[in-house]
Symmetry: C2
Subunit: 820 residues, 2 copies
């Protein structure tokens, strides 16, 4: 798609519409409504050239009519205003079940036929358009990735404004018309997203125009915002920081009047926006307008069906005539309803939209369904990434230096921010500093457009900045999604425990990616990158309620083609991993990394090799003889488990110097899966060579132990796999006490080895007892001193073990090509 | 605990406090602040009887000071008002990290020592109180189940008002003072929960008094609501339907003035509530007051530390003097800070609170920390449950009748509602009718206290009713949690796809239950019951974005002692299951059941036996010879998989009459686990007898197939287990096309049997090809007709197969005791 020739933010004269303009708007609206009803009901006979018959109606009627006519009305009016002002505009359909309306408008403005060449702008194309809707092998009934012009999936409600603001960030010329349904307005995510206006910059960002579509009803209930006093609703919108405009019609309102009134209101609102935007030196907060659009649910549909009020009631929500096929009276109501739009006035003999009506659509990429921002991959530019190798921590020997991994990552991100001042953002719920990414504040600030108290208190806050923080994980996720889907890059940093808040938003985004992978005209977008820190093993200021590593499990349930999970064990591996994530496309990358001081194990060169492999043997840590199977494999995944695993190896090397230990570390969790299950998966042969097929494998894992069994259950050696991981145990407040509580501590791992290596058994009874005693003593120490026992707290990988370091960390075999 | 002698909703004189009253309030406040600081910092020397020394300070300083003094101030003032009015009051601490404050107040009013007898009201008790806080083996730093008077865990933010309103439902005499932090106010859940006031009844429910605690800062940022114009905040609260009162102090405000002003304001507000409550015939919506409480963050703490503004800034959020132990100047600041509360004036020589201050607390159960509603199990009454057997559907033979399972459940729930008019509620996000529970509207209505348009449009709405519906899963979950934790019963019905919205809320509730199981004074509460319908296999009006069965996986990650998952295959099993759920305590019960017409397989007698076992062999469906191993086991779990599994058996019986098939159905998913993993788990012996150790098991499962492998991976026959379940595939709009898309359809199950029963192989090539062709034809039919092929749609279990029906559905062995 090409850039739009726009002249944005131009005021226009506010004057009543001419009769011709009203006729044109009304014609478009009727056409869109006709096509919407047609999609829901008709299998054949699209323009009713013969009397409507039973078999013209689909056998299963699925879809949502209620919200659609309002969406169509808005679309028609925005078309007019866009054409007049040449204003690049993105349309966000909060009531995403209004799918037929968006498809209808994209068909009317020509985009649909351009993208889907078999849906031609003629009678046969219209028949196909109708038939495919919510039909096996066809398109979803909701606004979906298949819908041109959409970045906002219909489905779970609540994210319209978050997505809209995400799209507006760093798009100073973009208007985002965001329709908010009064049903979704009841969701938590939507209720807080009105406050997004405190996080946008009037100069550097685009403008969101929220349009609250009050049609009064949900599936079976009235909506809250429709049933509070109008004065309260006005107060609410003012309280949210907006300047509200009210448009209200009912079933009796003359349509021409409605068009005239709304056109005046829309022009007034757009002029107000233009004025606020024109003051381009002013970065102070603006009170942006918004529109309350109160129209009857199912407007223009049958007023009553079987004597029950339908239009203007919840009965218009889905398919008002659910038995139209088999109820002759209902079939007649449907026929009359379709005829009420006077299709013969709208479409010519070939079934093509009449030219005078088609002229309402703005040209080319100014059409909302063709707006390039809605196919963000087409606008996506690679990030200019500084060479992460230059940010490496020095690792003269394994464990010889200490770093806070996320703080190191922050130094690199600082330069990512510097080099990409317009298309990279960091989102987080008040935790960017807590997660130790505060280095980025050397290069940027947190964008904040509410009251500002100056730098002494409001450190790192400014009117514009690359970091956006609000205490709402929903907002962080929604903003980032909107930002990515419009062709930019970013990451979301969050405490691990709280990321479950957006489980369902992740679901929907992952599904979007999965579907768009198979839609040729959708270009790949940047991956959605998580950085989960303050993870379950280090919840110092918090407690049991803050612990849950299950987001990984949740993510792994999604299609392998779109999810990646990384647990880098130290700072250099985190750098290498994140560089990879920021370069990738169409994935959700989950990266879990600690923020506490912790040993560095790999040089940057080794880290790159290790991350490229995704998992590998750390020869320097183990004691095996090359070319022979070890006695036991100690595998780790995650920074705390790796530390404990290495400490266990240290103990074993002291106490059982003859024991042949292989030490394996896993960075890329998906490597454990079978290559047939995941593109990153290892072949059985490679897996067996690393983990053996018959030796005990003691696996120390960051999350719920089940997941490792799940990922490996088809492997030959799975019977020998013994996983230690997070159990639902708490509370404690010292780190080692936490790992002990979950039996993941070094002493317990040694016990596991003794219990599972067949020849150790009784010969090691004394050592085993020592380990048990160590645990008891370590726990007792915490109860007495409130801190971890020094021998644990001060433990470091002994330099003496590191003698073989120079020989390299290489895995004993290549596990296949690049890990991407 | 005993009932409270209350005289609720009494107005009181509004007059300035006497100097003595001010001194008492201020003394209590100082004592609470002193104890809060002491908990965060001190290991020893609780009343500083010797100069503060390094070793008096904890080595790891963990906790949150910033919000605490405000919480203490409110607690003191509420104490005064409660004592004067004898008003039963529950305190909800939205800023739950203010744990030290709540513990301090419970210690001051005596409750703490009554419950925890080693934390005595003297010097040694105070030392223990300080030491245990956020200390290994001690108590969490947040408000937690261990905290007397709490039903609201500190941790994930956003649910204070939802919990508060849940507690207020059906407690007409209860005042719930709900402190909302200005950080949590940014979360989605909290932002929409203000609208809870449209769902309460002024006569039958209690009153929530929201107190928005504006202390201005989060971890590292200002808060949104503190930085919008005061007029906007007032508008926002009016928009939410409240009458806001503002209380504002800063660091310079004289404390006596603050006490006087707030006491007047609180009395005014409580009188306003009393007036609204006194109008007991008036069920119309009321505009309840709320308080904006603007105080400096860390009020009374050190103004500056190291020259940086601390009190009144985000720097006061956690532990302001993080290095007090090792920085002598900071140690002195801490000593001065503690001394500033003049502890010698507050506690006597024994370390006991002085009597004149202790007298501020209301008596007995009127103390907020001793309010019986905060230990709901103590108030819990068993539901009066109608005999579910009387609601059974008739099943003359397996599959001979059809029912919508949830609709049948609704008939029973109708009588549950009738018999329990004051302690049972149904919550849902606008889906109670859609989920076909609409039978309940014969007995009750949806409670709605916004504008009401009369019964023609507002069907089943009323000022009071047992069903509460708002389009916010967060609200449904939060209300239900608050309702259960205060000793009542209920259920949450939801579309399966959208229940992930409350994943993290489920986490926190499950953790609460897990912890309270080990707190002797916490009495068991009713289980949290989900009914997930409109499940993934039948998403008629929706699409791919609405499909995800992963909530089960999420739930199973929690401790076995608190989670239960049931997938009843038909109407009678659903009735039996739900009766069990509503009788249970301290669990989260997840029940997944379809709403679409589907065959009934078991008589009520059989259903009870089957549900009691949790899983069992359906002899009537299989073809095995008693006493011999079958050739193949077909196992199913979930209603659609059961239907397809039986249809596959039907095909196999037609085409391969000699094949010995065992048919197993699983209702209680946890039965699959090992008895050592879950109390419902089967022994290996019982499992092997049902599933065999060496025969192919084709398992058709409702959710992600992984879970079945995970639950059974230690079982002997796990290598022979082949699971079909939900994959991330869509979209389609006919039911059979959906199961085909996921390879769970009858034809594919037959193919699975052919592929896995060793002796079938090549002899069945023709049959196998037929099945492949059937699938292709079935799919083609949907593309042509938009509906499923009649032979599938009209399929029923053949009566001929049912000949053995009379011989009973009994499993071939008892699988252990009652399933509870």
């Amino acid at each position: 798609m090409t850039a739009i020739a726009t002249t944005n933010w131009q005021p226009a004269d506010v004057r009543p519409l001419s009769d011709e303009a009203v006729a044109q708007l009304d014609g478009w609206w009727r056409a869109a409504n006709y096509l919407s009803v047609g999609q829901i009901y008709l299998l054949n006979n699209p323009l009713l050239r013969t009397p409507l018959a039973r078999d013209d109606v689909k056998p299963r009627l699925l879809g949502h009519w209620g919200t659609t006519p309002g969406l169509n009305f808005l679309y028609a009016h925005l078309n007019r205003a866009i054409a007049e002002r040449r204003q690049s505009t993105l349309y966000i359909t909060g009531p995403g079940h209004g799918g037929p309306g968006l498809v209808a408008n994209a068909y009317l403005d020509g985009t649909y036929s351009e993208i889907y060449s078999d849906i031609t702008p003629d009678l046969e194309g219209m028949r196909r358009l109708f038939r495919q809707f919510s039909f096996p092998g066809g398109i979803p009934s909701h606004v979906a990735p298949e819908t041109p012009g959409s970045i906002h999936e219909g489905g779970e409600l609540g994210y319209a404004l978050s997505h809209a603001y995400g799209a507006a960030f760093d798009n100073p010329d973009l208007l985002v018309a965001a329709v908010v349904g009064d049903g979704e307005a009841e969701t938590g995510a939507l209720a807080t997203s009105w406050h997004s206006n405190k996080f946008t910059n009037r100069v550097h960002d685009g403008v969101v125009l929220p349009i609250l579509h009050l049609n009064g009803y949900k599936i079976a209930n009235p909506t809250v915002l429709d049933r509070i006093p109008t004065d309260d609703l006005r107060s609410l919108m003012i309280g949210y920081g907006h300047n509200p405009y009210f448009f209200e019609v009912d079933e009796d309102t003359d349509h021409a009047t409605a068009h005239r009134d709304f056109a005046l209101l829309l022009d007034t609102v757009l002029n107000e926006i233009a004025e606020l935007k024109a003051d381009s030196d002013n970065e102070s907060p603006a009170r942006w307008p918004m529109i309350v659009f109160r129209t009857p649910k199912g407007w223009t549909g049958p007023a009553y069906i079987d004597g029950k009020k339908t239009t203007g009631s919840w009965r218009a929500h889905q398919v008002p005539l659910a038995n139209a096929r088999d109820t002759p009276e209902h079939l007649q109501v449907l026929a009359d309803w379709l005829a009420s739009y006077r299709p013969a006035e709208l479409f010519d003999d070939d079934g093509t939209l009449r030219e005078d009506l088609a002229a309402l659509a703005p040209p080319g990429a100014l059409r909302m369904s063709a707006n390039p921002h809605a196919n963000g991959g087409a606008l996506l530019k690679d990030l200019r990434l500084p060479d992460f190798r230059a940010y490496a921590v020095d690792v003269p020997a394994p464990g010889a230096t200490i770093a806070e991994s996320t703080r190191v990552l922050g130094t690199w991100l600082t330069d990512v921010v510097r080099r990409n001042p317009n298309n990279f953002r960091i989102f987080g719920p008040d935790e960017t500093a807590s997660n130790r990414l505060q280095g980025v504040f050397d290069a940027t600030d947190k964008q904040w457009n509410a009251e500002y108290f100056g730098p002494e208190v409001d450190e790192h806050l400014a009117r514009a900045g690359r970091v956006v923080e609000m205490l709402s994980e929903h907002q962080c996720q929604g903003w980032l999604e909107g930002y990515l889907l419009t062709g930019r890059h970013g990451l979301f940093n969050c405490y691990e425990a709280f990321i479950h808040i957006i489980d369902s938003m992740f679901n929907q985004h992952a599904k979007w990616l999965k579907v768009t992978n198979h839609i040729p005209w959708r270009r790949p977008v940047a991956s959605l990158n998580y950085l989960l820190s303050s993870h379950v093993w280090r919840q110092d200021h918090n407690g049991f309620s803050h612990q849950d590593p299950g987001f990984i499990d949740h993510v792994v349930n999604k299609r392998a083609e779109v999810v990646r999970v990384y647990l880098p064990p130290d700072a250099n591996t985190l750098l290498s991993t994140y560089d990879h994530c920021l370069r990738s496309r169409q994935y959700v990358n989950v990266v879990v990394a600690g923020k506490q001081p912790s040993p560095n194990f790999l040089t940057m060169e080794q880290a790159i090799a290790h991350c490229t492999r995704g998992l590998g043997i750390w020869e320097w840590a183990g004691t095996e003889t090359l070319g022979e199977d070890p006695d036991v494999v100690i595998a780790t995944c995650g920074d705390v488990p790796t530390l404990e695993g290495l400490a266990a190896v240290d103990l074993l090397r002291q106490h059982l110097p003859e024991l042949k230990i292989r030490f394996v570390n896993v960075v890329d969790l998906m490597r454990l899966q079978d290559e047939r299950e995941h593109p990153h998966g290892l072949s059985d042969r490679a897996f067996d060579m690393i983990f053996t097929t018959d030796k005990p494998v003691i696996f120390a894992y960051h999350g719920y132990p089940w997941l490792i069994h799940r990922l490996t259950y088809r492997r030959a050696g799975n019977e020998n796999l013994h996983v230690r991981g997070y159990k639902e145990e708490g509370t404690t407040t010292t780190p080692f006490d936490m790992v002990m509580l979950n039996d993941l501590d070094r002493y317990h791992l040694v016990i596991d080895v003794i219990d599972r290596v067949p020849f150790l058994g009784s010969t090691c009874a004394t050592l085993r007892q020592q380990m048990v005693d160590k645990r008891i003593a370590a726990r007792e120490y915490t109860r007495e001193h409130g801190d971890d026992i020094p021998e644990v707290k001060d433990w470091a990988w002994p330099a003496a073990h590191g003698a073989s370091f120079g020989s390299g960390v290489a895995a004993t075999l290549s596990t296949g090509g690049d890990n991407e």
